[in-house]
């Protein structure tokens, strides 16, 4: 935690790092503490100045702000704007921050009042439509995943310290799935979003024999039209496709091609 960092004779600055969370399960932050084997090296690489979940000290000067969670209430916009002002690099950490995550499933309902009532009854509660960070501030870097892969954050932070550009894989999960020698889940009778989802998770789910739900959002050349056809061929209906595509919000920009005309899936409900 001291001494000048350098690599191949090039002096490196240890960035001041802050972790912040909006609406989320805080799992992505926790993934950092889950890096047991390399945690201490990691802590030597950066200077953590703000990490509410793990430490009491805090400071408002930081180079890199990792922001987890999505925006679901007005006051979070203010906090986010504040963080943006203080940070040189703002990183959207995890699918909630990148796409809205599971939180945005709430947006399926047009009627926010119904949503509130369903959970809180008549008790007054404040909320709004769920948004990813980029809807309000400039995001410099996205780390996808629900949850994020700890190895990936480590690599990204190391690269940032070294001044290397951060590249995400542009190809879909199938590449990693095949490299893991898995038998395709479609052949085993289960649906999977692997063909259209951005890789980088090392086919986390499919290697555990569970179909991909697209938590990392679309791959660079995602062929949604063909995916739909495949789902159909293997006997899954349109609803199953939508069920997965809408889960983490990453495919929102494809909504107009795949999802039914109006963005929000209408749910028939008796007025309660």
């Amino acid at each position: 935690m001291s001494g000048q960092l350098s690599y191949l004779g090039v002096p490196l600055t240890r960035p001041k790092v802050g972790f912040f969370e909006l609406s989320s399960c805080e799992g992505c932050q926790l993934q950092l503490l889950n890096n047991e084997a390399t945690l201490l090296d990691f802590l030597n690489l950066v200077e953590i100045v703000n990490f509410r979940e793990g430490m009491s000290e805090r400071s408002d000067t930081y180079d890199i702000a990792f922001v987890e969670g999505s925006v679901t209430r007005q006051d979070e916009i203010t906090r986010l704007t504040e963080i943006r002002k203080n940070a040189k690099i703002l990183v959207a950490l995890g699918s909630c921050a990148c796409f809205g995550g599971v939180n945005q499933l709430k947006n399926r309902f047009r009627d926010l009042e119904w949503v509130k009532k369903e959970v809180y009854g008549d008790f007054p509660i404040d909320t709004m439509e769920v948004h990813p960070l980029a809807d309000f501030v400039q995001v410099d870097l996205s780390i996808f995943g629900c949850p994020i892969k700890k190895e990936e954050v480590e690599r990204i932070v190391t690269d940032l310290v070294l001044g290397k550009a951060v590249h995400h894989p542009e190809y879909p999960v199938c590449v990693e799935c095949k490299a893991n020698q898995n038998i395709c889940l479609f052949e085993l009778g289960e649906p999977c979003l692997g063909p259209v989802t951005r890789a980088g998770c090392d086919a986390w789910c499919t290697s555990n024999r569970r179909g991909c739900w697209g938590c990392r959002g679309p791959a660079e050349a995602a062929n949604l039209k063909q995916l739909e056809e495949i789902m159909h061929t293997y006997g899954f209906n349109k609803e199953a496709v939508i069920d997965r595509l809408e889960c983490f919000g990453g495919f929102a920009s494809y909504a107009h091609t795949t999802l039914p005309q109006n963005k929000k899936t209408p749910i028939k409900r008796k007025k309660s």
């Binding site: 190391t158 052949e187 063909q226 995916l227």
Partner: protein
């Protein structure tokens, strides 16, 4: 070549003799959703695990010579410099028990570029040279078009090749080590009847191929049809997922990534198999992509296999195993693609 025959029961004995080594062979991986059995190559410990009557494995055996990810070198970084450590990642021989002709032919093709041309690749060669291969006659599957590619039988690149003659195996022996091994079994020289049976079996097998590819003049036709709209139609279906290349026994293209460990004291250089169907395959610094459309990438895969490789090595880089077509979720199969480019749908 030397031929022998031995009783089927002797095969277990052969396995037992080789069991001091690591043995890889076809094993069952359950059934697919339609109840069709699935197979793959894996390390086995027991003769009974081997599914020698397998149809075809889902993945090709190439990962044993070309791992999907391989550390080419590691570095230790010090204050005043660095050291590079190279490890070929091969430590012991491997026995391949029951490889089909197409997969052996695939290795022979890989040899052409990876072992027999300029700059032989030691990572590949180290593993390839340490394979002891027992080949095994196959049962053609509907997707197999190896006969069109001339790879339904294999002439070299193995130690021993077995053909099922009913109660016996007909053995083609290609290496001294294999010959030595067989002396420990009860073997006979093939009788005239055995030879007749062998020829009959081969002929019967030939009749069972259903998929074909017209390879006549294919290199030239590909050149002529470079602008064919057939490519666009396939490109529209293609998922750019690289599954075809990953299951292919001969696709060997790769990319290299370098990583520094968070302690800044260690670094590594890792090779990963890549595929020409992946979007960033031909992207260069600054972002220019020489093949931005999936049609151009898909086309390229066929060009490399059926034109470029032929020009360089007088044979195509495809053994007709049909795995890519079987694995492609978009149902893009070489027989259909080539037929459409030839203009006969």
């Amino acid at each position: 070549m030397i031929f022998k025959v031995f009783k089927k029961e002797e095969l277990a004995r052969l396995h037992e003799l080789l069991a001091v080594n690591i043995i890889v062979g076809p094993v069952s991986k359950g059934n697919d959703r339609n109840g069709k059995p699935l197979y793959d190559f894996d390390v086995t410990y027991d003769f009974n695990e081997l599914a020698l009557d397998y149809t075809q494995t889902v993945h090709s055996p190439k990962r044993f010579v070309l791992p999907y990810h391989e550390t080419l070198s590691t570095f230790s970084i010090t204050r005043d410099g660095w050291k590079k450590h190279v490890d070929l990642n091969v430590y012991r021989p491997l026995v391949f028990f029951g490889m089909h002709a197409c997969d052996i032919n695939a290795l022979n093709k890989l040899d052409l570029v990876l072992a027999q041309s300029t700059y032989p690749n030691p990572y590949y060669m180290g593993k390839r040279k340490n394979l002891f291969i027992i080949g095994m006659g196959c049962n053609p599957e509907p997707q197999c078009f190896c006969r069109s590619m001339g790879t339904d039988s294999v002439l070299h690149g193995f130690d021993l090749f077995l053909t099922d003659l009913g109660g016996k195996y007909f053995a083609e022996i290609l290496s001294a080590t294999a010959f030595d091994l067989l002396t420990q079994l009860t073997c006979q020289d093939p009788s005239a009847k055995d030879l007749a049976l062998y020829k009959h079996a081969t002929k019967e097998k030939s009749k069972r191929y259903t998929a074909t590819v017209d390879t006549s003049d294919l290199t030239k036709i590909l050149d002529l049809e470079f602008e064919s709209t057939a490519w666009d139609a396939w490109g529209e279906k293609c998922l750019s997922c690289g599954t075809c290349a990953n299951v292919c026994p001969t696709c060997y293209c790769y990319g290299v990534d370098e990583h520094v460990d968070p302690d800044l004291k260690h670094a590594s250089k890792i090779k990963s198999l890549h595929s020409c169907n992946l979007i960033d395959f031909a992207k260069v610094a600054g972002g220019h992509n020489f093949r931005p459309t999936s049609a151009s990438r898909l086309k390229y895969r066929y060009y490399h296999k059926h034109r470029g490789f032929v020009e360089a090595f007088e044979e195509s880089l495809c053994v007709g195993c049909g795995r890519c077509g079987a694995a492609c979720l978009a149902d893009i199969t070489p027989p259909e693609v080539i037929a459409s480019v030839r203009g006969k749908e």
